[in-house]
C-alpha cells in the first residue's frame, strides 16, 4: 500500500502538470460560466450540463486513459525493472490518472456554481452531477485501461475505446428503444430499470432526471422509476452498479496486467 501511495503521488504530479488537465478544468469552468450567464433559465443550464457530463466525460476519460496508458508503456517497463510489485504499480497508475482528471472536472464544474451562488439552489442536482462526473471518470478510465492492457496496438486500442463509448452513449439506447417496441405488450418497467442500471451513462442520466421532478412526465413508468430510484435501496443498488463498473474492469485489467509481457 505504501508503494501505491508513492506511485500515486508522482503520477498525480505528472498528470496535474499536463496541459490536458488544465484545459479540461477550464473547459468545465467556461461551459458552466457560459451556461449560467447566457441561458437565463437554470433548469435549461442543468440539462445542458448533464448532457456534457454524461457524454463528454466518458469520451474524454476513455480516450485520455488509453493514450496515457500507451504513452506510459516505457515508463511502466522502467518501473517494473525496479523492485515493485505489479499490483501496486497498476493501482498507482490507475488512481494517479483518475484522481487528477476527476479533480480537474470537480474544480472546473463546481466553481461557476459557487461564483453564481447556485449551490443551494439545486443542491441535489449539483451533487448528483458532481458525483456522476467523478464516477464516470473512474469508470471510463478503468475501461480504457482494460482495453490498453489487452490491446498492444495503439490505433486499434483507441478504435475500441471510441467504439465502446459509442455503444454505451448511443447504440445502447437504440437497443433499448427497439426492445420497447418489440415487447410493447409486456410490462417493461422492471426490465427498463435493469437495463438502465447496466449502462453507467444511462444510469447517470436517469438519476439526474429523477432529481429534476421529471418522473411525473413518465406516467406509470416514471412512478415505478421514482419508487425505485427514490428509495434508499434503489440508490444503494445504483451506486453499487456504478462501483461495479469501476471494480470489474479494474479487476480484470489488473489481473491481466500482472501476467502481461512487456
Amino acid at each position: 500500500m505504501k508503494l501505491v501511495k508513492e506511485i500515486l503521488f508522482y503520477e498525480i504530479h505528472n498528470t496535474i502538470r499536463s496541459k490536458w488537465v488544465a484545459f479540461y478544468t477550464a473547459f468545465f469552468f467556461f461551459v458552466g460560466y457560459g451556461l449560467f450567464t447566457f441561458s437565463g433559465d437554470v433548469s435549461k443550464a442543468y440539462i445542458s450540463l448533464m448532457n456534457i457530463i454524461i457524454l463528454i466525460i466518458p469520451l474524454v476519460a476513455i480516450i485520455f486513459g488509453s493514450i496515457y496508458f500507451y504513452n506510459s508503456r516505457e515508463f511502466i517497463e522502467m518501473m517494473l525493472s525496479q523492485p515493485i510489485d505489479r499490483k501496486s504499480l497498476y493501482r498507482g497508475i490507475f488512481l494517479g490518472t483518475s484522481i487528477p482528471i476527476s479533480a480537474g472536472f470537480a474544480v472546473g464544474f463546481s466553481l461557476p456554481f459557487f461564483l453564481f451562488g447556485k449551490v443551494n439552489d439545486q443542491f441535489g442536482g449539483f451533487l448528483v452531477l458532481l458525483l456522476m462526473g467523478i464516477l464516470l471518470t473512474f469508470i471510463f478510465i478503468a475501461l480504457s485501461f482494460l482495453i490498453s492492457v489487452r490491446q498492444d496496438d495503439k490505433a486499434k486500442g483507441l478504435g475500441i475505446a471510441i467504439f465502446i463509448w459509442l455503444v454505451l452513449a448511443v447504440a445502447y439506447d437504440g437497443i433499448v428503444l427497439l426492445l420497447i417496441y418489440l415487447f410493447q405488450e409486456y410490462p417493461l418497467e422492471q426490465s427498463m430499470i435493469a437495463l438502465t442500471i447496466l449502462n453507467p451513462i444511462d444510469l447517470g442520466r436517469i438519476l439526474f432526471l429523477m432529481k429534476f421532478n421529471i418522473a411525473a412526465l413518465m406516467g406509470y413508468t416514471g412512478a415505478v422509476f421514482q419508487k425505485f430510484f427514490g428509495d434508499s435501496l434503489g440508490f444503494i443498488i445504483s451506486f453499487l452498479a456504478l462501483a461495479a463498473w469501476i471494480i470489474i474492469p479494474f479487476f480484470f485489467s489488473s489481473r491481466y496486467f500482472k501476467r502481461k509481457d512487456f
Partner: protein, 417 residues
Amino acid sequence: MSIPKKITLSTTLAVVIFLFACSVSATTITVSKNGPVKTISAALLLANPSDTLLVTSGEYAEGNILVNKKITIIGDNFPVIDGKEEGEIFTVTADDVHFSGLQIQGSGLSFLEENAGIKLKEVKNCSITNCKFLNNFFAVYLAKAADCTIENNFIKGESVREVTSGNGIHLWYCRDITIINNQILNHRDGIYFEFVRNGKIQNNYSKGNLRYGLHFMYSDSCEYANNTFEQNGAGVAVMYTKNVLMKENHFINNWGTTSYGILLKDISDSKIERNIIDQNSVGLYMEGCGRVTISNNTFSKNGWALKLMANSMDNYFYDNNFIANAFDVSTNSRQNFNTFSKNYWAAYKGYDLNNDGYGDVPFRPVTMFSMIIESQPTALILLHSLFIDMMNIAESIIPAITPKALTDSQPRMRPAL
C-alpha cells in the same frame, strides 16, 4: 389576492346606518350570545323581508338554516356559524339575500346531499362577500341562480380524498354570476361550473385542490381573467363549452401523472390569451377543440407545453412563447389542421438573414421522440439521451413520422411580449 379583511365594528355600523337611510321600513335585528335573540334561526323567524341581521362575534352552533325571505346577514368580527358537520348551514331560497363577514364552517359530508356552507337555490341578486368558509363539504353552492356575486371570500377545505370532498365554489345551471377575488384552497375542485352562462371569474386564487383548480363544463360565454391556479391535482379542465375567454391567468406548477395546466376538451370559438403556463406536466392539452385562438401565452418549463390531439382543428396559435419545455408540441397523428405562426420557440436553432425578426427556416415543434412517446410511453426513460437527440435531428431534416404540416413558418427570433 386579497384575503377578506376583518370587518371592524365601525364599518359594520356604517353599513347598518346606510341600510337604515335607504329603507325606513327595514330594521336591524341583532343576534348575540348574550342578547334576547340568541340564534340566527330565531332571528330569521322574527325578521321581515328587507331586514338586516347583525350577528355579533361568538360561536353559533347551528345548521340547516333556511333563508326564505329577502334579508341581509352581516357578521361583526366573523362570528362562527358551525354546522357541526351535519347537514347544510345556510340554504337560501329567496332573492336579494346578502351575506358578509361570517365564518361558516362544518357543513356535513354526505354521499346523498351536496351540503354546502351557503347554498343559493333558484334565486337572483344574491351576494356572498367577505366571508370565511372553513372545512365545509361544499363551501358555496349555486343551483339555478342568476345575477349573483361571490367576492372576497376565503375558502379552505380539508380534503384528503376525492370521494369524500366537495367543491369550493360550485355552480350548476346559473347565469350572470361574478366570482371575484376569492381564495379557494384544499377542496375537491376549486371552482366548478356546470351549465353556466355569462360567468365572470376574476382575480381568484385556487391552490392545492385535489382535482381541478377550475373545472367547467357546458358553460358558454364565460370569462376568466387574472386568476391563478397553482398546485392543483389535475390543474384546470374546461370541457364541452363555447365562447370562453381566458386571459392573463397563471397556471402554475401542476405536476403529476395526470396533471394539466389547462385541459381543453370539446371547446370551440374561444380565446386563450396572455396566460402564463409554467411548470406543469402538460401545459395545455387540447382534444376535440375547434376555432380556438391561442395567442401571447408563455409556456415555460412544462413537460409538454402543448398536447394537441388530432381531432382538434382550425385552432390558431400565434405570438406564444415556448421556453424550456421538455416537449414543445406533441400530437398523435401525422395530420394537422391547425395553424402555427409567429411563435417564439427557444428550441429553434435557425437564423434570420434578412433581419425581420423571424427565422428564415420553418420550425417543426413536434419531435420524433414526442411521436414515439405517444405510442410507447415507456420510451420516456430515454429522455435527453444522445441517441434520441440524434434521431430528432435526423427527423427534423427528413420528416418521416412527424406531421409535415405542423410547422411554424415564421418562428420568432426573440420572445413575443
